[in-house]
Every structure is written in C-alpha cells, then in structure tokens.
C-alpha cells in the first residue's frame, strides 16, 4: 500500500477517534477562549493597542493551546500500547507521522477558526475582509506547529514530567513560527491591510525544513 493510502487510512482513524468524543477540540477551544479573555485584562483591549498587540496575543494563545493539545498525540498510543500495532499495519512508518500531523493541523485549524470571530468581537478587530489571507497564515502556522509538535510529542511521551516537558521543548523551537505568523497576521489586521509575503515565505520554509527532517528521522521517533 502506498504512503498516501496508508496515511489516508490512519488519518481517518485519528479523526474518527477524536470526533467520537470531541473532548480534545472542546477543551482546546475553551483554553484559547480563556487565554484571550485573560489577556484582555493586561491592556486596553478596544484601543488601537488591540490592533498592535492582537496578532501576537492570538498566536501566543494558539501556541499555548497547541502545546497542551499535542500531549495526547503519542501518549494515547503509549497508554493503550498500540504503537507496535500501528507500525505493523503500515509499510512506511512515515505514514503514521504524516497522519498524526495532518490530524493535528486540522484540529488546530478548526479551533483557530472557531476562535477568530470571538477574537474579532472582543478586541474590535475586523477580520472578514481578510479572511482568505488569514486562513492561509493560520494554515501555514498550524502546519508548522503540528509538524514540530508531533515530533516532540513522540519524544516527550517517553520522558517523565511530560506535561511540562512538551511546552518547554516545543515553544522555543516554534519561535520562527510565532515571529512570522504574528508579523503576517498583524499586517492583515492593520488599518490598511497588507500581506507580508516575506513572513509567508518564512512559514513555508519552516514547514518544508521540518517536514523534511521528520521524513528523514521520523522512523527513529517511533522506535520502541
């Protein structure tokens, strides 16, 4: 079976597992909501500051949420001891990683899009005019977060104190994603919206570099 069909099958499994209970999505959405609301207490959220700081706060909220949301990614397999079965079911172990990162990207994207109107209303920032462009930067950013996060989740699942460890490993690594996504998003939320193509370029490069690294070294992440 080819890589793509293996990945498709496993992706279906990941999505079915999550949509059965939807607990991961729900808790992530609520977490982002909590962070967004709490952030608003730290400055004047309806002034022009909101446009300046809004993008950064939004992406910080996404990153914090992701570092929590990615915990169960491999922990689930470890607790249920299903990783060896997974490995046997595919010819290319990369399919497992690809499926997980695709699922994680999708989950992140869904939560971000759910939170976008809330953010727009609470911080008085217009988003619908630039929705397409925002979707692009959300997708590229979430992809970067998922690629790195899936890899590091596989690592932290095998260590102690994994709930604290994963954010500690992940957040510094995602600095380029935070910087680039924030810049592009800030440009889109500006009074005169524009696309920071250099930032978009950075995100594409980040995604490609880490996807390649995952492809090269991913099978070792799944060793038992």
């Amino acid at each position: 079976m080819s890589l793509l069909s293996n990945t498709g099958t496993l992706l279906g499994k990941e999505l079915r597992t999550e949509f059965r209970s939807r607990e991961l999505l729900m808790t992530t959405v609520i977490f982002i909501l909590v962070v967004i609301i709490l952030f608003s207490f730290t400055f004047d959220p309806t002034s022009s500051d909101a446009r300046r700081f809004g993008a950064g706060l939004l992406w910080l909220a996404f990153l914090f949420a992701a570092s929590l949301m990615l915990q169960p990614c491999f922990l689930r397999e470890q607790t249920n001891d299903t990783l060896s079965a997974l490995r046997l079911s595919v010819s290319d172990p990369f399919a497992i990683l690809l499926a997980k990162l695709a699922a994680n990207t999708l989950f992140l994207l869904v939560t971000e899009l759910l939170m976008l109107p809330v953010f727009a209303v609470l911080y008085n920032v217009p988003v619908f005019a630039v929705f397409g462009q925002l979707l692009l930067v959300f997708f590229l950013g979430s992809l970067g977060v998922s690629i790195a996060g899936t890899a590091l989740s596989a690592i932290s699942a095998q260590a102690r104190m994994r709930e604290l460890l994963l954010p500690l490993l992940l957040l510094p690594l995602l600095t380029p994603v935070l910087v680039a996504s924030t810049q592009v998003t800030a440009g889109l939320l500006d009074v005169e919206p524009f696309v920071q193509w250099k930032g978009v370029g950075f995100l594409v490069v980040f995604d490609l570099v880490f996807l390649t690294a995952l492809w090269l070294f991913g099978e070792y992440l799944l060793e038992e």
Partner: protein
C-alpha cells in the same frame, strides 16, 4: 594526567594573551571608550558556542545512524560546553549595553536569537535528565538535538527580519562593521583561546561521560557476580 595539565596550562596562557591583546593592543574606541573591549569576550564566546552546538549536531546525527555511545557522550559534552559559552555571551551583552544604551536589554536581533538558542539547549539538557534508560535517552535527546539545531538558522533569520521591521539598536554593530583593522585582528586572535578552551572543556566532559559508561558496565558485572 600530565598531558591534560599541560593542555589546561596552554589554554590559560592563551586566554591571558587574549586579555592582554584586548586591553593593551587594541586601540581605544573614540565613541565608546573602554567599554567596547567587552567585544573581545562577547563575540568569540557567541561564535564558539555556535561551533559547540554544531559539533553537538554532528554527534547527534552520528548517534542516530550508528548508535555508538561515544557519539552520545560527545553530544552531551558539546551541548553543555556550548551552553557555557552562550551563557557568557548573554551575560557580557547586557554588561556592555547598560553603559552604552542605558538599558540592559535592547532586544537586539542577535542577542534575542542567542537567548532562544540558550533556551533550546537548556531544554536539551533537561530532556536528558527526564529519561532514565540510557539508550532511550541517547536516541531521544539526539533527535531533539537535531531538530533544535536545524531550527537555529530559522530562529536567527526570523528574528533578524522581525527586528528590521522595527529597527532597534544593534549590539556591537554587524560583523566587522566599521572595525579598525587592528581591532579586527585582535578580535580574530581572541577567538583562538576560546576554541582551545572549548576543546579542553569538551574533552574533560567527554571523559566524564565515558567513565560513567564504564561504571555502568562494571556495576552490572558486579551485580551479576
């Protein structure tokens, strides 16, 4: 024993020579006065740290592919030593910045990137303390080390781009920017003792880790006996 004391003595001499050059051979800077001499410590530390982390990266890849313990020992030694040099860079930066800019931290692109670099390798060391099984620890930390190092150019690039969006003071100017040729020569000379120090520290740390490996083997033998 004797060879290593000789090596240590040589490094100390080189460091002393570098300090002498930094204080007495390099001319005075007309704008900053004497404080700029920190550059002869700050820049070589930063660069040596990066060299150490590169060595760590090579060792990490070698371990993943070959699974020989010596690459794991090399990796941890290089990471710790790199962290020591990066720490010195991050301490000397603000010491320089305060008299010149009036504030300790200016969010200069390179210093900020160096701070993220520092966090990445602290995470690497922390990861190692949280995995008990030696082979697992070696493999997983090597994999994280690989991801961390390939992130480094992305971190530096993205932060530099971010900082050009909102120009801020640049610590020490760019590499060789407007540096007097004597200053540049002294700067280059000051790098040599740093590299020698890096080798010395890595050697002793590597030996320590190798000894740990031996101890594990002997312990297991004595338990079996």
């Amino acid at each position: 024993m004797k060879k290593s004391s000789l090596g240590a003595a040589a490094v100390v001499l080189l460091l002393a020579a570098a300090a002498y050059a930094a204080f007495f051979i390099a001319p005075t800077d007309s704008r900053q006065g004497v404080i700029y001499r920190i550059i002869f410590l700050h820049v070589p530390s930063a660069e040596t740290g990066l060299v150490s982390f590169f060595i760590c990266f090579v060792a990490n890849v070698a371990y993943v592919l070959k699974r020989q313990p010596k690459w794991d020992w090399m990796g941890i030694a290089a990471a710790e030593v790199g962290l020591a040099f990066t720490t010195v860079c991050l301490i000397t930066g603000p010491i320089w910045a305060k008299p010149v800019w009036g504030i300790y931290w200016t969010w200069d692109a390179r210093l900020t990137s160096t701070a993220v670099l520092w966090l990445l390798y602290v995470a690497y060391l922390l990861l190692r303390t949280l995995i008990e099984e030696p082979d697992r620890r070696a493999l997983l930390s090597a994999l994280f080390g690989i991801f961390a190092f390939i992130d480094v150019p992305l971190v530096f690039g993205s932060i530099r781009w971010w900082r050009t969006q909102h120009p801020q003071p640049v610590i020490m100017g760019g590499p060789g920017s407007g540096l007097d040729p004597v200053m540049r020569a002294v700067l280059f000379f000051c790098w040599v003792p740093m590299l020698a120090l890096m080798v010395l520290l890595m050697q002793s740390r590597y030996r320590l880790e190798a000894m740990r490996g031996d101890l594990d083997i002997v312990r297991r033998e004595s338990e079996a006996a």
